[in-house]
């Protein structure tokens, strides 16, 4: 599915260069569930942003479906991104002014999909994550767990083949955290590739592979049997 080769990301501010990722080599296959762990500032989020094509590497190669996208422009990346990648954030990142259904529909809005089909797909995915009864509510009227379920629904409604989750359980209590992890596991079983950044070892256990980052390097990779 994707392959990072000698990938480096450096931030330059006034003559001080901070290396966030240093010669990272990672390969993720289609249908995998990968957890990325590491202490704060180790480059997890940078890695996720580059994988999610929200950011570009300073050097190295990023092959997405055998295509080296490392040198692509923002607009080119945007086209691939909206086709293939869904996002889930720690802070949910729902739009406060839009209802649950409208938030989910947002992921389809910038594709050429007729309104009737959008409605249908939004309804289906809301059923799937069990939020259909809240369709008309605004995000501020929902609990954190419910908001994250909306975010999950938004990430999958476009039939994205890969979901990038940035600490999806970070703002949730244990019970709601479990619930979201269960949903991600189910999506993975249905064939969606999942890359998740987490601090929680127990949630990392849902993944079949864990990548540990430290100071921009991959330190260990462990597979779960």
């Amino acid at each position: 599915m994707l392959k990072l080769q000698d990938l480096t990301k450096a931030y330059r501010t006034d003559e001080v260069e901070t290396v966030a990722l240093n010669n990272v080599n990672i390969e993720i296959d289609h249908g995998e569930f990968v957890a990325i762990m590491g202490p704060s500032g180790c480059g997890k989020s940078t890695l996720l942003n580059i994988v999610g094509m929200l950011d570009t590497p300073t050097s190295g190669h990023y092959y997405f479906k055998n295509e080296d996208v490392a040198g692509y422009s923002e607009a080119q990346l945007g086209v691939i991104r909206k086709q293939h990648i869904g996002f889930i954030f720690q802070s949910f990142n729902l739009i406060d002014e839009l209802s649950v259904a409208e938030n989910i529909e947002l992921a389809l809005l910038y594709h050429d999909i007729p309104a009737s089909e959008r409605k249908e797909r939004v309804a289906t995915v809301m059923d799937k994550v069990g939020i259909a009864h809240r369709a008309k509510h605004m995000p501020s009227q929902l609990s954190g767990g419910q908001q994250q379920r909306v975010a999950v629904a938004r990430a999958v409604v476009g039939n994205q083949s890969m979901i990038l989750a940035d600490e999806p359980t970070g703002n949730l209590d244990t019970a709601h955290g479990q619930e979201v992890m269960g949903m991600l596991q189910k999506l993975n079983e249905e064939g969606t590739t999942i890359v998740m950044v987490t601090h929680s070892p127990s949630h990392a256990d849902y993944a079949r592979r864990t990548i540990n980052l430290l100071d921009g390097h991959v330190v260990t990779e462990s597979m779960r049997a």
Binding site: N93, I95, Y110
Partner: protein, 824 residues
């Protein structure tokens, strides 16, 4: 101390939020400056003639004629004889006096000057408390050979300061006598419709040959002022006028009551500048409409600027929510916070005030030039207090709503979640205020274009005569020039570059109402029509390039001269040639221009009760010609040949105007040395009729642009704050696949909505008001043009709004979404 803390906090807020502060201060400063300029103008206009000690009890009478079949003709002057009977009939009148102005030659030794001389009745100085420098005004007017001069004239003629007791000869045609300077008075203030520089008393016997001046009941040539006993209700006086008229005016042969076609009414002197009817003022009149319109514009500008202030303050409320919450946690009460925020806004406004004063001082010279006044701010007077008061009011009004919004935040909510602390109500109010701003701006924009369109139309309308290359020489009415008329015309005709020369009683832009009563043979004399008369010389139509619709012009060889009244009286009259305009044809029912030729008209001549009529033969028909302002509807008019007298000589020339003027001047000074040479280019006289409107239009356009600019400033500020507030949303949308264009579209649309709604409000309002405004013009652009202007204004407003928010939107749309999304 708390106050220091507040001031410090206010000052730091100004410094830290440069964009916010700059927009607020600039917007308010421009707004305040505009309001101050308009207020200066309005205050000047509404404070005419209120400085007289007795102004509350001083009135001026005006006279209205109600001719059948024509709109009423209102004159600011009245018939001369009224003064002799008015005090007898109205015991509440203390003093009454006439004033008539006359251009006269002043002769000092062998030098000739021209001045406006005021001929007054002695009571004039009892009504008005003129400020005397030397001498006694009352005594001076009791003496028929005494002269009162104002300071300027006294200094002009007697620079050594020894004017009192000196003599000057005055030639006013009706008399030429020696006068002794008996008193000197201060120059009159500018803000008065009474405008006197040199005064002598009226000696009616000297005018016996010109009986229309003071003795005729149906000629209007003098203003009539009077003072009444305190407590007199002018309505009572006005109400008794019809019976006064019937008692005193000469009886009509028809037996009709004179009050049926003559009205007399009086107005308080303070009202004259803005509300006086008629045209014959001694100082230019103002317009109540203009005063009202500009007051409204000032109010709108002030509201637009205050709205900016309110909107920007509430828009960035979330930014300050933390400060508010912390102050509350530290024990600040809501009242104290409200006081702090109002204080901040007053502080900001006073700062803006300083900037606006600089603007006003910079703008005043050109402003004065445009409106033709001498306005200034007197910082030593209550002006300063008023200005500071105005600014403080704006500060408080603009600050009060944000203060209550800001101070209402609950610390727990704000500090916990750092959520958008705004309620949807304040967002809605902000949208409503933006809509109001744009509705006001668009209305102003439409009004400006309509006013401009009308001006352009007036400039380009076919006047019916060629105004360019036409030189008009004045002062022919003076006896010394009149006797040289034929000689002057002949000499002019010999000059190079002059193709034709004529003479007339009127000139373009000069309006004297001269009317006569005419009828066709079929009409009984009681149904005759009032027809305007223009006395013209030979070659008049050729010189003015006026086309002929049918027939012929007057010709020297054609025996077109009219029968004199004395010939008619003696039964020796003959059919006199006549040229009439198209409106005249319609009024008298003469058919087409061809059909009218050869028809007979009767015109009443001679004295009251003589029942004499002159027989006229129509020899030519001309189109309607706009010799006067387009505000006036074309009268039914006849152009009557007047072979030996004129007020003006008109010259059609080619080549250098200056050369022609110089040649004309040389000739004039050689032939008529006792009368100054004065002239006008016809094109200037035509333009001058719209000078007031043009000044007002420039003012209007300038203030409208300012209003729009201030509204855009606000929109710009609002757009930047909103974009900031929406960064998270924009980030999410971009992650979801929105392109830069999608995002820009979103943001721009957000600001297009209020502008579009504003159009829906502004269009009907401006259509209605501007249609009403246009009605004051007899010749005007069609109302449907206003719709076009509305559309144009709407599109312009939208484009301006887009341009204002676009740069910001593009910047925001281009930022990397991860910055917005990583942390809340």
């Amino acid at each position: 101390m708390l106050l220091t803390n507040y001031i410090l906090s206010a000052w730091r807020n100004i410094i830290r939020h440069k964009l916010f502060s700059a927009i607020n201060i600039l917007g308010l400063a421009i707004g305040l400056a505009a309001v101050m300029l308009i207020t200066l103008f309005v205050r000047h206009e509404i404070n005419y003639d209120n400085f007289w000690a007795n102004s509350q009890n001083i009135y001026r009478m005006h006279m209205t004629f109600l001719p059948s079949g024509r709109p009423p003709m209102v004159f600011s002057m009245v018939a001369g004889p009224i003064i002799h009977v008015i005090k007898k009939d109205f015991p509440q009148i203390q003093h009454a006096a006439r004033v008539a102005r006359k251009r006269a030659t002043i002769i000092k030794g062998d030098q000739y000057f021209e001045e406006q001389i005021s001929l007054v009745d002695p009571a004039f100085v009892k009504i008005f408390d003129f400020k005397t420098i030397t001498g006694n005004l009352g005594k001076a007017l009791d003496d028929q050979s005494s002269l009162i001069l104002n300071k300027t004239l006294a200094d002009k003629y007697f620079p050594q300061g020894n004017a009192i007791g000196q003599t000057l000869t005055i030639n006013a045609d009706a008399f030429e006598r020696e006068f002794t300077v008996a008193a000197i008075m201060e120059n009159m203030p500018e803000n008065s419709q009474v405008n006197v520089a040199a005064m002598v008393s009226i000696v009616e016997e000297e005018w016996s040959e010109l009986e229309w001046m003071f003795a005729s009941w149906f000629s209007v040539n003098t203003h009539l002022y009077y003072s009444v006993n305190p407590g007199t209700n002018i309505k009572d006086v006005n109400a008794q006028m019809p019976s006064f008229i019937d008692r005193n005016f000469p009886l009509q042969d028809s037996g009709d009551a004179v009050s049926g076609f003559v009205e007399l009414n009086s107005q308080n002197i303070e009202e004259l500048h803005l509300k006086a009817p008629g045209n014959s003022e001694h100082r230019e009149k103002g317009s109540i409409t203009t005063v009202l319109i500009f007051s409204a514009v000032a109010a709108l500008i002030l509201i637009i600027a205050s709205i900016n202030f309110m909107n920007l303050s509430t828009a960035r409320a979330s930014q300050r929510a933390k400060e508010v919450s912390l102050r509350k946690v530290m024990g600040a009460s809501r009242q104290k916070l409200v006081a702090q925020f109002i204080g901040e806004s007053v502080f900001l406004t006073l700062f803006a005030l300083l900037v606006s004063m600089a603007f006003v001082e910079l703008a005043l010279p050109s402003y004065n030039q445009i409106i033709g006044k001498q306005l200034s701010i007197d910082y030593g007077s209550s002006d300063l207090l008023m200005i500071v008061g105005l600014s403080a009011t704006v500060g408080i009004l603009g600050g009060i709503y944000p203060a209550f919004i800001l101070s209402s935040f609950r610390p727990a909510d704000v500090l916990k979640a750092n959520k958008s602390a705004e309620t949807s109500a304040s967002v809605k109010l902000r949208a409503a205020l933006v809509i109001f701003q744009f509705a006001a701006s668009i209305s102003l924009f439409v009004s400006t274009t309509v006013v401009y369109g009308q001006m352009l139309y007036a400039k380009n309308i076919k006047l019916g005569f060629e105004q360019n290359n036409l030189l008009v020489i004045n002062n022919l009415y003076r006896d010394a020039a009149d006797i040289k008329l034929a000689l002057l015309v002949n000499e002019f005709r010999q000059m190079p570059n002059i193709s034709s020369v004529t003479w007339s009683n009127d000139a373009p832009g000069i309006h004297t109402e001269n009317n006569t009563s005419m009828r066709t043979p079929e009409m009984p004399s009681s149904e005759s029509s009032l027809i305007g008369v223009r006395g013209v010389g030979y070659e008049y139509f050729k010189t003015y390039n006026i086309d002929l619709l049918s027939g012929r012009f007057y010709g020297i060889s054609q025996n077109d001269t009219r029968a004199e009244t004395i010939e008619i009286r003696e039964g020796r009259g003959h059919a006199s040639s006549l040229i009439i305009n198209e409106t005249g044809l319609r009024r008298l029912g003469l058919g087409t221009p061809e059909e009218a030729l050869g028809k007979i008209l009767y015109r009443s001549v001679g004295n009251e009760g003589e029942n004499l009529e002159r027989e006229h033969l129509i020899i030519g028909v001309v189109p309607d010609i706009h010799l006067n302002s387009l505000k006036k509807e074309i009268r039914p008019e006849i152009f009557e040949l007047q072979p030996d007298h004129a007020q003006y000589i008109s010259i059609r020339y080619s080549g250098d105007p200056l050369e022609t003027v110089n040649l004309a001047r040389e000739l004039w000074e050689r032939e008529v040395p006792s009368i100054p040479f004065t002239y006008d280019h016809a094109v200037d006289s035509v333009d001058k009729q719209y000078k007031a409107e043009q000044g007002e239009m420039t003012m209007f356009a300038a203030f409208s642009s300012l209003a729009i600019f201030i509204a855009c400033l606000g929109l710009y500020g609002l757009a930047s704050f909103t974009a900031e507030r929406r960064t998270k949303e924009i980030g999410i949308r971009k992650v979801m696949g929105a392109s830069v264009f999608d995002v820009v579209k979103l943001l721009v649309w957000q600001f297009s909505k209020p502008v579009l709604i504003a159009n829906l409000i502004a269009w009907p309002v401006s259509y209605y008001t501007m249609t009403m405004w246009l009605e004051s013009f007899a010749y005007r652009i069609e109302s449907f043009f206003i719709l076009g202007f509305c559309l144009a204004a709407g599109v312009a407003a939208l484009l301006i709004a887009w341009a204002t928010v676009a740069s910001n939107s593009i910047r925001v749309a281009n930022t990397n979404p991860i910055n917005a999304l990583r942390y809340e």
